[in-house]
Symmetry: C2
Subunit: 424 residues, 2 copies
């Protein structure tokens, strides 16, 4: 990342020394995991560029938007309706939560037995390392797990927050609650931006976000080809970037990349030999730059062909019904779409079991690698249910629990390698 | 416990060998912790008797009630409205969750990083060691934490369950959701028992449960005397028994015991010397026979003068308004009362901070001992907020995290002993 962003980072009150060190580690990490890949897509240049400028040009865009009177809204979860944010002429970005930064500082605010993702977003804030967080006019949290729900109480003391309550079941009264929370978010946005969310603006935002999700669906469908036309690492990165980059640009770039993938598939070209063991990743979200598990998995000779995760199909699976013409009906369509999410925060959450089985079959996966962050109770509990369900489907599964440290890479290689061998 | 209950336990399909071993350990544990106390109340004979017959005569009563056509409903949480259960002529009991039983079996159904309380109720069921669980016609769970919410999905496969959704905030839409859940529980009870819950029956049940809570409030108020007239261990046991015994008998016995306490207080008699360091326990529930922390605390020379916990003031603090005359108004009163609970499942939950400060002052506590079960995210997170609040109140606090093992008793003695010394 070029040095001419320094002034901007200084204005954002980042810890410049710490931030330089972070970028250096990230650059090396990205080089090892991404640039080392053979036969990469031409479209991956976009990914490399976005990543190289993720704390640079993209932040510059946010600052320019702010200078033009737009607001920046940060989120940590796929339950926050991006459509509403965009309809209020605000920028919607996911926040840094995928690296061990500021962990010791974070542990002064949240318990040690908290998952790495939560410690990460608190650590990035306390250590002043995330220019996205520092650019936000509002950060939106949600009640999807105990860890985040309670961590936001602490986080709210150091940053302006709005909390959305996500219900825990899907009954009529839950939909009523969720609807009131969607409306409350709409009001909060209107108050923040001073702009009314109209049917016209919301309709346009729904189409923009649907197009983004449709591009991700298209990408995902192309991965069913054997040989797999794109690595799991690159596909994960695309899903990660979908939370950071401008949605219209992202959609255009990913559709271009999909055109290239289509050519590859037609030519029978791939990133791994035909017949290479195929894995579906399933479980917790992997926020940038958490690439450890797909990297380890693909270093065993397997190829990752899907991500059943919030940074994956849990985000892209469902579109918002575009047939609504007035604002009320659009809100109802949003409420319905978001309540279809198969998050482990729901009880029961059997749709997720159906979706995993369906995705594994659609992606022609030979096995499922279930991934939980240490101390993530919802997904570690569901790992038992996923295992039961996949047993009845005769799809092998390996469950791993890990965090952002590199200490267990060799252990993971051994375990995942042994699992992949059994799929042969 | 007498051997003539064997036949009953056999009918309940308990693991008789394992159960005998459990009772033996429990008996010894009770002897060490309770019978060793000097100058105990005469009223404690009731406690000793109930405990000695908790798996015997009390289970016999449940079986007799069942033979007479009543149903038995088991619970794990103070959110399940006992008033409704009683109004359906059913018996309402708390379930075994305070001992390390069947842990290895439980870990085949829930993650290792699950709190001891959850592993305990699953372990008791899988190891067939709890005659309460085996007597239940229905077990009612709730969504108060990720651990329980997801564990109930597994538990529901091996036992008939009804899940109540507890909201996570206290807005109007949350009250609507909770009201619908209270009504859904009422319907489930009516279906289970075949009996209608009438205004007359519910009014009577509200008075019974209010009287029980009032007796616990009376007990708690008497503990503000110095010297403390009752040990924290005995007071905890009373709170624990309030979940097991017949509520009318319990209320009468505890009021008798309070009469005795009043005489003691008037005579300036106590269980510890006047001026002994006084501790308020605060945090996670301590289910029978989880007496470790108060026992350790009192072995340092301190006396425990209150339990800010679900098995403590979180259960007894609020009464239901008795002024309602018709069923609808009674339901509203129930909804309001239960939504006042200051559980860490709510965000924010600042009422709890106010309540802890007020209880510490009312009990003339010199310090607060915050107790969390390992892996209990809601209470370990709140420990940070409680510490912040008590700092402003200039009330010293020590936070401990532990489980049901005895491995850390010496370490706890050292830490709590050092804390108690600073209070002198």
């Amino acid at each position: 990342m070029s040095a001419n962003h320094k002034e901007m980072w200084e204005k954002l009150d980042l810890d410049l020394t710490g931030h330089d060190a972070l970028l250096e580690v990230l650059g090396k990490f990205y080089g090892d995991i991404y640039m080392s890949q053979q036969g990469r897509l031409k479209g991956a240049e976009y990914l490399d560029f976005v990543l190289s400028e993720i704390h640079g040009l993209r932040i510059k865009e946010l600052q320019d938007a702010k200078a033009q009177g737009h607001k920046v809204v940060g989120t940590f979860c796929v339950f926050v309706p991006e459509e509403l944010t965009l309809a209020a002429d605000a920028v919607h970005v996911g926040l840094c939560a995928g690296a061990d930064a500021g962990r010791e500082q974070a542990e002064t605010m949240v318990p040690r037995n908290t998952c790495a993702l939560i410690k990460s977003f608190i650590g990035f804030k306390l250590a002043r390392l995330c220019p996205f967080t520092e650019s936000c006019d509002l950060i939106v949290g949600e009640t999807t797990c105990d860890g985040k729900k309670k961590a936001y109480e602490a986080f709210g003391k150091i940053t302006p927050m709005h909390i959305m309550e996500v219900p825990q079941q899907k009954r009529t009264s839950d939909r009523d609650l969720w609807r009131s929370e969607v409306l409350r978010y709409k009001e909060a946005l209107e108050k923040l931006t001073g702009r009314a969310i109209t049917a016209e603006k919301l309709g346009q935002a729904i189409r923009v976000v649907n197009a983004k999700r449709a591009a991700l669906q298209r990408l995902n469908a192309l991965r069913s080809a054997d040989p797999a036309p794109i690595s799991g690492r690159d596909a994960l990165l695309i899903n990660q970037i979908s939370f950071y980059d401008d949605p219209v640009r992202f959609t255009a770039k990913i559709n271009e990349l999909c055109d290239e993938l289509e050519t590859r598939v037609a030519a029978g070209q791939g990133v791994a030999p035909k017949g290479a063991p195929r894995l579906l990743l399933s479980g917790c979200p992997m926020a940038v730059p958490n690439w450890k598990v797909p990297y380890v998995a693909e270093s065993t000779g397997a190829v990752v062909v899907g991500e059943e995760s919030c940074i994956g199909t849990r985000n892209s699976r469902d579109l918002v019904d575009e047939s609504a013409r007035d604002l009320d009906a659009m809100i109802e369509a949003l409420v319905d779409r978001y309540l279809r999410i198969d998050c482990a925060c729901f009880t029961p959450n059997d749709e997720r079991l159906d979706n995993i089985a369906a995705e594994a079959k659609a992606a022609k996966a030979d096995g499922v690698l279930h991934y939980s962050l240490l101390f993530c109770q919802p997904y570690t509990h569901e790992a038992f249910k996923v295992a039961d369900r996949l047993r009845t489907e005769k799809i092998p599964m390996l469950a791993v629990e890990t965090d952002y440290s590199m200490d267990d890479v060799e252990q993971l290689k051994t375990r995942i390698g042994a699992f992949v061998e059994t799929l042969g």
